[in-house]
């Protein structure tokens, strides 16, 4: 019982090492991969890599000792470009998830707690947004705003917020009927205080888990948008656009291999970590 109560969860969160110890092996691998990418993002410019934008050798060379992942159609080093690509894709994914969580959760909490026409307006808007295939909606928005990573990010926030709105609304609806909330009202707490102090702190777990898993999905969608030319603009070494360049050089498989494996590792790592977090926090059934 003690291990699943929210306070115990919070304490577990604050001591990251204890939490890491409780993760399953796949979760630990996920953490390590994400840690690697996080370090890469902040420090890749200091690494002894060739300039990702410069011609480093002959074009379309297969992997070799000099170019570990070969060179692309312009003779740029794929290995260097792949690592530098992290600094484009991952910050965008982080921003998108953070904004989608903040905006979606805020709207969902308001909808769930206050109900009425506010609820109806927010949730119907969310339903409409969710009824479009994500890639299609993101394409539409990105196309309307023009290519570029910031616009692609904005498009993805528009695609993603309804998921968090629904998640948070469902949680608030469940928690608000608990007796401790009634006790708070009987104790004279106003609506705002009831929501912020007595309801929201108990609603975060599913959002946290979902955000972890979505992080990889967002990275994938960002790459997809770049792949079709709506995300990062050349010559930026963004993973999606690199794969796009590699797609036309079918026999030079290494061009797409580097960024492809990078995307795969991020998506896998976040799925592993999300699954592991769910095992720890969201254990359903008898306490």
């Amino acid at each position: 019982m003690a291990s699943t109560s929210p306070r115990a969860r919070m304490r577990a969160l604050s001591s990251g090492r204890a939490l890491f110890g409780r993760l399953p092996l796949t979760g630990k691998i996920g953490v390590l991969i994400l840690l690697f990418w996080a370090i890469t993002v902040v420090s890749v410019q200091f690494w002894p890599l060739v300039d990702p934008l410069m011609m480093a050798g002959r074009r379309l060379q297969p992997p070799s000792g000099a170019h570990w992942l070969g060179t692309d159609a312009l003779g740029r080093d794929v290995f260097s470009r792949t690592l530098h690509g992290a600094a484009y894709t991952i910050p965008v994914a982080v921003m998108v998830v953070v904004f989608a969580v903040v905006i979606g959760s805020a709207l969902g909490a308001i909808a769930g707690y206050f109900g009425g026409w506010f609820d109806a307006v927010i949730m119907r808007t969310a339903d409409v947004t969710l009824s479009f295939p994500p890639i299609l909606l993101a394409m539409t928005v990105a196309a309307a705003l023009g290519p570029g990573l910031p616009n692609a990010g904005l498009a993805m926030i528009i695609v993603w917020w309804p998921i968090y709105a629904r998640l948070m609304r469902a949680q608030v609806l469940e928690v608000r009927t608990r007796e401790h909330v009634e006790a708070a009202i009987a104790g004279g707490a106003g609506r705002g205080r009831v929501l912020v102090v007595h309801i929201l702190p108990l609603c975060w777990t599913p959002t946290l888990i979902n955000a972890t898993m979505d992080f990889g999905q967002v990275a994938l969608l960002a790459a997809s948008l770049s792949f079709i030319g709506l995300g990062a603009v050349p010559p930026s070494p963004e993973w999606g656009s690199m794969i796009s360049e590699g797609a036309s050089k079918f026999y030079s498989w290494w061009i797409a291999f580097g960024p492809g494996m990078a995307i795969l590792s991020v998506v896998l790592a976040t799925s592993f970590l999300g699954d592991g977090l769910r095992d720890i926090f969201d254990r359903r059934g008898p306490q």
């Binding site: 003690a2 109560s5 306070r7 006790a183 708070a184 009987a186 004279g188 707490a189 106003g190 609506r191």
Partner: protein, 348 residues
């Protein structure tokens, strides 16, 4: 006694009704069905008195309790707290009055915020009093000792306490603001029998010390008898019999009360074998579609055509029933029956 009768009741519930709309038609304009949870309930509670509310599950006891606290807004009727009508106050006007009216819930786990220490939980309740930090800390320590818990529970979390300890915290929270009335919504029914007695005694001693009026909601008759000065028996949202605890238990007049009492096992096996047992047939009718006339007639052994045609009204006497064919009031009870006065216990 006569002087006591003049003091206004601290809680006066007048003709309280609550209807829940269930479902809605296609356009969402009109509810498909109306659930009559509480119908025309009136009772008064004097300072320091315990009024017990008994009834089967689903008879509207808890809804009634929540209506009194305005956790649910009643559809009709008024609740007067020390003479002030609180039914039509808005949230801001209600807030200062919440000091006088508190509640203890059935489930001691879900009624405490799982992410707060006991200290914070009690401090949340004390916000109404706007104490400074030092007074607040002292008050919290005092409350914990009042409910007979060790001082170190203050820094624990609810899940670290036992059920009985948690319920004591629930009680501490309720008494923290010096209320005049506490609604106790099945406060012991989630606990082991061995713990119930200790908690009931605690409630009693707190009542004597702090002069609080209790509205004690329960389905367990022996518990209600133990704590109550007066009792109201509810059936399908209505009070069908009300009176002093001793009168009601010694001389039940309504067939439903008689059936309830005959379901209590007697400790003496010989007496248990001898007595006639009234066993009710069928289930509680749906409050979505209550029977015409007397709501108890579908299960009543005495039902006659009149019962289906006309609803019996609750008498306005000390030991009152809502029945066309009740047993006569006991001689003692009749002698005491003075209309619309409050009968309080000997302690008055």
């Amino acid at each position: 006694m006569s002087l006591h009768n003049l003091t206004p009741p601290v809680l006066d519930v007048r003709n309280l009704s609550k209807v829940f709309p269930i479902g809605s038609n296609l356009l969402g304009t009109k509810p498909a069905q109306m659930l009559q949870a509480v119908s025309d309930v009136s009772f008064r509670v004097a300072q320091g008195e315990t009024f017990g509310l008994v009834g089967e599950s689903g008879c509207g006891k808890s809804t009634l309790g929540r209506c009194i606290l305005r956790l649910i807004d009643p559809t009709q009727g008024e609740v007067l707290l020390a003479g002030t009508d609180i039914t039509h106050l808005n949230a801001a006007e209600m807030r200062p009055l919440r000091q006088d009216l508190q509640i203890v819930f059935q489930d001691p786990m879900s009624s405490l915020h799982p992410g707060m220490t006991i200290r914070r939980i009690l401090a949340e309740g004390l916000r109404l009093l706007k104490l400074d930090a030092q007074t607040e800390a002292a008050r919290i320590a005092e409350l914990i000792s009042l409910v007979q818990l060790p001082a170190d529970v203050a820094d624990r979390y609810p899940h670290e306490l036992s059920g009985g300890q948690r319920q004591r915290i629930g009680i501490a929270r309720a008494i923290s603001v010096n209320p005049k009335v506490i609604v106790l919504d099945e406060p012991v029914s989630a606990l082991d029998v061995s713990i119930q007695a200790g908690l009931l005694n605690l409630l009693r001693s707190l009542q004597e010390r702090l002069n609080i009026a209790y509205v004690f909601i329960a389905h367990d008759l022996s518990v209600v008898r133990y704590v109550s000065d007066r009792i109201g028996v509810m059936y399908l949202g209505r009070i069908v019999e009300t009176g002093r605890a001793s009168d009601l238990f010694d001389n039940p007049r309504h067939p439903y009360t008689q059936a309830l009492l005959s379901a209590i096992p007697l400790a003496d096996p010989r007496a248990e074998r001898k007595r006639a047992r009234t066993v009710l047939e069928g289930d509680l009718p749906s409050p979505l579609n209550p029977p015409s006339g007397c709501s108890f007639r579908t299960r009543c052994p005495r039902a006659r055509p009149l019962c289906a045609a006309e609803r019996p009204l609750l008498e306005d006497t000390a030991h009152a029933v809502a029945c066309h064919f009740p047993d006569p009031a006991g001689t003692e009870a009749t002698a005491r029956a003075t209309p619309s006065t409050l009968q309080t216990g000997e302690g008055a």
